[in-house]
């Protein structure tokens, strides 16, 4: 029972990290059909933002709180810059956005190496987040993982509310559902795209802050996470957030269970096989927007 719960919670906390990363991807992929490989480097930017802030602000708890909005803006601004400079020109060629942003991610990694050095750096976690919470029945959960789970759920909630209730959210949904119709209805699609990219990249920054709680940060930290996050988006289906949420937790639990039953490396293969099998059943992902297109 204890072991089972432990594995389940590990799975959920893997899922929470995946969710934070995949949310931003799902947003940009769903709306603009852009595959942003530099998303991983925006995560890295968020993590290094936390690190830099800790150099000047001594209180670990305070710096973490400040880092959350700052990292959001830093990563978001990088995203907007990328959109203006490159991605804007490539909307007709989704596969090429993948390659171009990969080139960008190479350069950003090297930039991080030049600025912060190749070795990983460590941030201090606030004392509040270092311990464990004891639950009845001898179960414990780590505080930092609970915090990440809360952060991920808060991000989902905020994003859902923003998409449902705000004028901006309405515009974003309109562009996702039918870009041309939205454009002729007077919605400035280019500006909506830019805002979406800001939000999506900003979420990567938040994920970066969260990851500083789990381990050291380094120039290549994004690469390892980005593929799993993309798989979440692919399996979840584009255009809706609930697919991303469900699949992120499902893959997290599958990964943790597989790891428990076999080894880490075999678990990765299990996840991959499960995804291919799933796509046999629902090739367009778990949830999709109904369209009349042939694809």
């Amino acid at each position: 029972m204890t072991v089972l719960f432990g594995q389940l919670f590990t799975g959920i906390s893997i899922g929470a990290v995946l969710l934070l990363i995949a949310l931003g991807l799902a947003l940009t992929f769903g709306q603009m059909n852009v595959i942003n490989m530099a998303h991983g480097e925006f995560i890295m930017a968020g993590a290094y933002t936390t690190y830099v802030l800790q150099q000047s602000i001594t209180g670990a708890g305070m710096s973490l709180l400040i880092a959350l909005p700052v990292a959001f803006v830093v990563a978001g601004a990088m995203g907007v810059l990328l959109e203006i400079l490159l991605i804007r020109r490539l909307y007709a060629r989704p596969l090429d956005t993948l390659l171009v942003t990969w080139g960008v991610s190479l350069m950003l990694q090297q930039l991080a190496r030049d600025v912060f050095g190749s070795p990983n750096v460590q941030t201090r976690a606030p004392e509040l987040l270092t311990g464990n919470v004891a639950l009845p029945g001898g179960l414990t959960v780590a505080n930092n993982r609970l915090f990440i789970l809360a952060l991920a759920l808060a991000a989902v909630a905020a994003l859902t509310l923003a998409l449902r209730l705000t004028p901006l959210g309405r515009r974003i949904r309109a562009v996702v559902q039918n870009r041309d119709l939205a454009a002729v209805s007077g919605i400035p699609t280019a500006r909506v795209d830019r805002t979406t990219f800001f939000i999506g990249s900003g979420l990567a920054g938040l994920a970066g802050v969260a990851l500083t709680l789990l381990g050291p940060i380094g120039p290549t930290m994004g690469t390892n996470l980005i593929i799993d996050a993309f798989l979440v988006v692919v399996v979840g289906g584009i255009g809706q957030l609930k697919g991303t949420v469900i699949v992120a937790f499902a893959l997290g639990v599958l990964q943790a269970t597989g790891e428990y039953l076999t080894t880490l490396s075999v678990a990765k293969v299990i996840v991959f096989v499960a995804i291919v099998a799933f796509l046999q059943w629902r090739p367009q992902g778990l949830f999709t927007l109904r369209t009349r297109s042939l694809a």
Partner: protein, 395 residues
């Protein structure tokens, strides 16, 4: 279109003026040019390069030519078929590991075991799945057939369900990630992060001997030329046209009664076989195969050369792959950081602003319409040739 005698005299085809050059008949001038090109390439690879280059440079060239073989396959799958495969490292690795396993077993002698197994795995006897690789009659075909089988498995599952575009690219990349993690995880039987190293012999020839290294180079050069000839035949066949048609309008091809999934599958499997062969020949040329050579980053680097050279042409991927690999060696030794920036920048600039690759510069210089971009529906590398080709009545 057919040479039926016109019913009405007013629409009769005017006889061609005397001395007019007939448009390219299929297999006419273009075939001549191709043969001349191959002869030139063969002379360059077999005569000039070994004379001009030192043993060290020649073995480097052998390594680049292996990368070029992978690029030929990517050129077919991606450039012609529109399938961006970010996991060619998997097939390269399967071929490489199959070859390396055989060579390791051959080095160890009959009944022997590769050294690393006792070291990491504490194994007393050879794992079951290693055993068949002791026989060259199994290992050699496996270097090509194993990658093709994996590509067939994944491809038939994925293409039948119409998973394509970015979805396919991400899946192929995930396959590369999974394979690397698996190889590293099973250190006792795969060598882990180190991979299979210290390969000494190649079917009885000592690989330390420069003469034998030259032999390996000649084999690689010959295989590359053969693959290029194969690719040219494939591209210029009916199948090649069908493949381009699937790239440019998969639904239309489906409505015409073809099965796009099978068309794509063939290209993907052929590309996998080429990558496997490249991996197999890479092992004697370099003496090592390891997860670092076949993971996500190397897999995308295979694509870079193709993109830079020109994805939709036959020679572009080969020249691009060799040029990028050469630039990497030349620059990364002296300025390690700079090369990464340059590589990223090159990739960004070429893909964003010159999607036809450097080959399209050449085409641009020769004719005005050569720079039309892919992604716009009108772009097709075959369009000009098709338009020029006279329709020949079929039996």
């Amino acid at each position: 279109m057919t040479a039926v005698t016109p019913a009405r005299p007013d629409t009769a085809v005017q006889p061609a003026p005397a001395g007019a050059v007939p448009p390219n008949p299929p297999g006419g001038r273009s075939r001549l040019r191709a043969v001349a090109g191959f002869a030139f390439g063969a002379a360059l690879l077999f005569a000039v390069a070994p004379l001009v280059l030192s043993d060290f440079r020649l073995s480097l060239l052998a390594k680049y030519l292996c990368v070029a073989m992978v690029a030929v396959g990517i050129g077919i799958a991606w450039g012609r078929g529109g399938m961006l495969t970010l996991g060619q490292g998997v097939f390269f690795g399967l071929g490489g590991y199959a070859m390396a396993m055989h060579l390791k077993l051959a080095d160890a002698g009959p009944g022997g075991m590769p050294d690393f197994m006792q070291l990491y795995g504490q194994l007393d006897e050879l794992p079951v799945w290693w055993r068949p690789f002791a026989s060259p009659w199994f290992a050699l075909p496996a270097t090509v057939l194993l990658p093709m089988a994996v590509a067939f498995g994944l491809g038939s599952l994925v293409f039948r369900r119409r998973v394509r575009g970015a979805y396919f690219a991400i899946l192929s990349q995930a396959l590369a990630a999974a394979m690397v993690i698996l190889l590293i995880g099973q250190q006792g039987t795969t060598g882990g992060t180190n991979g299979l190293t210290d390969i000494e012999g190649f079917f009885g020839y000592d690989l330390d001997d420069p003469v034998n290294q030259r032999m390996v180079y000649f084999i690689i050069a010959g295989v590359l030329l053969a693959l290029l000839a194969l690719a040219r035949q494939l591209i210029h066949s009916r199948y090649g046209e069908l493949l381009v048609a699937v790239r440019d309008g998969e639904e239309r091809v489906r409505f015409l009664g073809y099965d796009p999934a099978s068309v794509k599958l063939v290209a993907y499997v052929v590309a996998a076989g080429m990558a496997g062969l490249a991996g197999a020949l890479f092992v004697p040329a370099v003496g090592i195969i390891s997860p670092a050579l076949i993971g996500i980053v190397p897999s995308i680097e295979f694509v870079i050369g193709v993109a830079v050279g020109g994805r939709a042409t036959l020679l572009g991927p080969v020249l691009g792959a060799v040029a990028v690999a050469w630039a990497r060696t030349a620059l990364s030794e002296r300025f390690p950081g700079t090369w990464t920036y340059l590589q990223g920048l090159l990739f960004v600039v070429v893909v964003a602003f010159l999607p036809g690759g450097l080959a399209s510069l050449w085409a641009l210089a020769r004719r005005r319409d050569g720079g039309a971009l892919p992604g716009r529906r009108t772009w097709s590398p075959l369009r000009r040739r098709r338009a020029e080709r006279t329709e020949v009545p079929v039996a």
